[in-house]
């Protein structure tokens, strides 16, 4: 009698357990198909977030998570297999490729957008162009007056993005060439704030993503090249860089990851890239 009751209880418990395990298993296997994990650069992050939002609307049931832990950490996650897409604002380094191939991960780069920085001044400033070396000298504090670069006799107010931003990183990379900025440089927290400071300060110089240039500020020619979508795309404008998403091998056409990393080729993708202030690789009208 007693034993029978215990047996029944064990039976019920094991049945419930089995159902539970099955449910969990089926859930995880389903989740693996319907989940895209994106990690990496804070510069590319906004693009990935916009793509993710659009993608989840188009494909309900697919979950896209986007983390922004920096390009290096994105590469690490891809190599360790903890993410499907690694956002990077630079190309992968030799050591990273080595580490990847050792683990049978074969990184493939998808250029999703171009990041061009415009060096901007107050509209009343007569200076029309600077060389990259002159811009670097201004930010290093070697040039402090506009008359040294052909402008009026006025002190240069140097405005930079905060050191935490991807824009700062790109500028440091492309213009400063790893040289230190002067201590007197002013730091502001967003592209919009740089524009605000420059449009109200006659002696100011700053840099913003190309998408933030409007008629209230003047973008300078750098090394003789006007910053524009065309000059960035053709590679003539020097303060620009491609933005990457890396995948492990080329994703199978038709898979979710494939449609995610090719979203930038669509008209909607182009619009999203432009809205964030980057230059799309496509040119749909």
């Amino acid at each position: 009698m007693e034993r029978e009751r215990i047996a029944v209880r064990i039976g019920w418990t094991s049945l419930a357990g089995a159902v539970l395990v099955a449910a969990v298993l089926s859930r995880t296997s389903a989740a693996e198909d319907k989940k895209i994990v994106v990690d990496g650069s804070t510069t590319v992050g906004p693009i990935a977030k916009a793509f993710a939002e659009h993608f989840m609307q188009q494909n309900p049931g697919v979950k896209v998570t986007v983390a922004e832990s920096g390009s290096g950490n994105g590469a690490k996650s891809l190599i360790n297999g903890t993410c499907d897409v690694a956002n990077m604002s630079r190309f992968m380094k030799k050591e990273e490729f080595k580490a990847a191939t050792e683990r049978d991960v074969f990184p493939v780069a998808h250029v999703v957008a171009l990041d061009g920085l415009a060096v901007v001044v107050h509209p009343s400033n007569p200076v029309k162009e600077l060389t990259r070396a002159q811009v670097a000298d201004i930010y290093m504090g070697k040039i402090t007056n506009w008359k040294e670069v052909g402008g009026p006799d006025a002190k240069i107010v140097v405005v930079s993005r905060d050191t935490n931003s991807g824009t700062y990183e790109a500028f440091e990379d492309l213009v400063m060439k790893k040289q230190k900025m002067a201590e007197g440089v002013e730091y502001v927290g967003s592209n919009g704030a740089v524009r605000q400071r420059v449009q109200t300060t006659p002696g100011a110089i700053g840099y913003v993503g190309l998408g933030f240039v409007d008629e209230t500020i003047k973008a300078l020619k750098i090394d003789g090249v006007e910053p524009s979508k065309d000059t960035v795309r053709s590679g003539r404008y020097p303060v620009a860089r491609p933005l990457f998403m890396f995948t492990n091998g080329y994703p199978k056409p038709g898979s979710h990851v494939h449609s995610f990393v090719t979203l930038h080729m669509t008209k909607k993708g182009q619009e999203m890239v432009e809205a964030i202030g980057f230059i799309p690789v496509t040119d749909y009208k």
């Binding site: 804070t42 922004e68 832990s69 920096g70 950490n73 006025a154 002190k155 107010v157 905060d162 050191t163 935490n164 700062y168 440091e172 230190k180 201590e183 007197g184 440089v185 002013e186 730091y187 502001v188 927290g189 704030a193 605000q196 400071r197 109200t200 300060t201 006659p202 002696g203 100011a204």
Partner: protein
């Protein structure tokens, strides 16, 4: 229909009043003779109520302890990695370089500079306003003005920051000299006249004892002329200044000063109010004028309270983040010369707010922990200020009670 409805209602009302009256009686009698169960239940509820209240209070107190513990715990790895001397003695702040440099001296200096500037602005204005509110304005006017001042404290700091960045900074750049000149005149001329009125009244009996009334007028006029003349000369020389960048220490100091005003005014007004009526009346009875009473009796008696108000205003300024992050320029550099308020500065709070990014958190590097070292320094400074103002206020209370 209506009549029928009315009747039972009145009847019911009467019935209810008697019933509740009886109920009260019974309950009152029961209160004296509680059954064992009722007494136990009552004690249980009161115990439960007290422990819930205690838990809530303990939670808020332990939150403070936890924050303190966490900040210090996160700050320690930085000092272990990089040592203390670079942090406190170097002015080279390059946290994102390879290798990074974490010299925060210029940032400490920036914080001190804007807080001091805010105090320089807020203390004279705030104390003068407090004196005016407590001793000069009639009661009704005071009732109208106090809430208006307290609204200053209710404006969110990001609104101040926006104003500082979008309105005040361009104004300083375009009309810098004129703004400075006008501000000095607006601030110094009334202060000079007030001071000369008080000083003239007090100095006349001593310097010109023969004809006190004539002496008072003559001395007051002389002091006022000298004060206004000095203010005029100062503003004239300030008018020639050109400001190249409007996001600087001066901009932030003035805005922070305005933000600290409500604190300074209300705390020092409380201190002035706490000075008893007897003291004032005794002073008047001895023949002192109102100016003499305020300056030589009321203000000395309230001095420690006013000092506490100043410290609290200083704390308000040193802890403010949004305004300085938006409008101080954030250059990690000691201005040259060091008292040059027209150059951009960077403060501890703005550095913490600006550098605390997701990326740093993941790396958990010295760059992340240095921000906690700054937070710990800020905590230490504000704890010290808090303790000092608490001590001063307590001593003042004891002194007032003793007199």
């Amino acid at each position: 229909m209506t009549v029928e409805q009315v009747e039972p209602r009145t009847g019911g009302k009467a019935g209810r009043t008697t019933a509740t009256g009886a109920g009260k009686d019974i309950r009152a009698r029961r209160g004296l003779l509680l059954g064992r169960h009722a007494a136990f239940r009552r004690r249980l509820f009161s115990w439960a109520g007290r422990s819930i209240l205690f838990l809530v209070t303990a939670a808020s107190a332990s939150a403070v302890m936890f924050i303190f513990f966490y900040v210090v715990k996160e700050a320690i790895p930085f000092f272990l990695q990089c040592g203390v001397s670079e942090f406190l003695l170097s002015t080279r702040w390059y946290p994102s370089r390879e290798p990074p440099e974490f010299g925060a001296l210029a940032i400490f200096f920036g914080s001190a500079m804007v807080s001091l500037g805010a105090a320089l602005f807020a203390v004279p204005v705030g104390v003068a306003a407090a004196v005016c509110l407590s001793d000069i304005l009639p009661f009704k006017v005071r009732q109208a003005i106090k809430p208006a001042i307290e609204i200053l404290a209710a404006i969110p700091s990001v609104a101040y920051g926006f104003f500082a960045l979008v309105v005040f900074a361009p104004l300083l750049q375009e009309q810098g000299g004129k703004v400075l000149a006008a501000a000095t005149l607006l601030l110094l001329v009334p202060l000079a006249i007030l001071a000369s009125l008080a000083a003239g009244g007090m100095a006349a009996p001593r310097l010109l004892p023969g004809n006190p009334r004539f002496g008072r007028y003559a001395l007051t006029a002389a002091f006022a002329a000298a004060g206004v003349g000095a203010a005029w000369w100062l503003s004239g020389s300030l008018a020639k200044i050109e400001i190249s960048s409007g996001t600087n220490a001066l901009n932030v100091s003035i805005i922070l000063g305005i933000m600290a005003l409500p604190t300074v005014i209300s705390v020092s007004e409380d201190a002035l109010q706490a000075v008893g009526r007897e003291l004032r009346e005794a002073s008047y009875a001895l023949g002192a004028t109102r100016a003499e009473t305020i300056i030589r009796v009321v203000m000395p008696a309230a001095a420690s309270g006013i000092l506490a108000a100043v410290l609290m205003g200083f704390m308000r300024a040193i802890g403010e983040t949004m305004v300085v992050w938006m409008a101080s320029g954030n250059s990690a550099k000691i201005p040259s010369p060091f008292y040059n308020y027209l150059e951009p500065v960077r403060t501890l709070t703005a550095t913490i707010a600006g550098d605390m990014g997701e990326a740093d958190h993941v790396t958990g590097s010295a760059r992340y922990h240095v921000l906690f070292a700054m937070a710990a320094s800020l905590l230490a400074i504000s704890l010290a200020c808090n303790a000092a103002s608490e001590w001063i206020a307590r001593r003042a209370r004891r002194k007032m009670a003793g007199e």
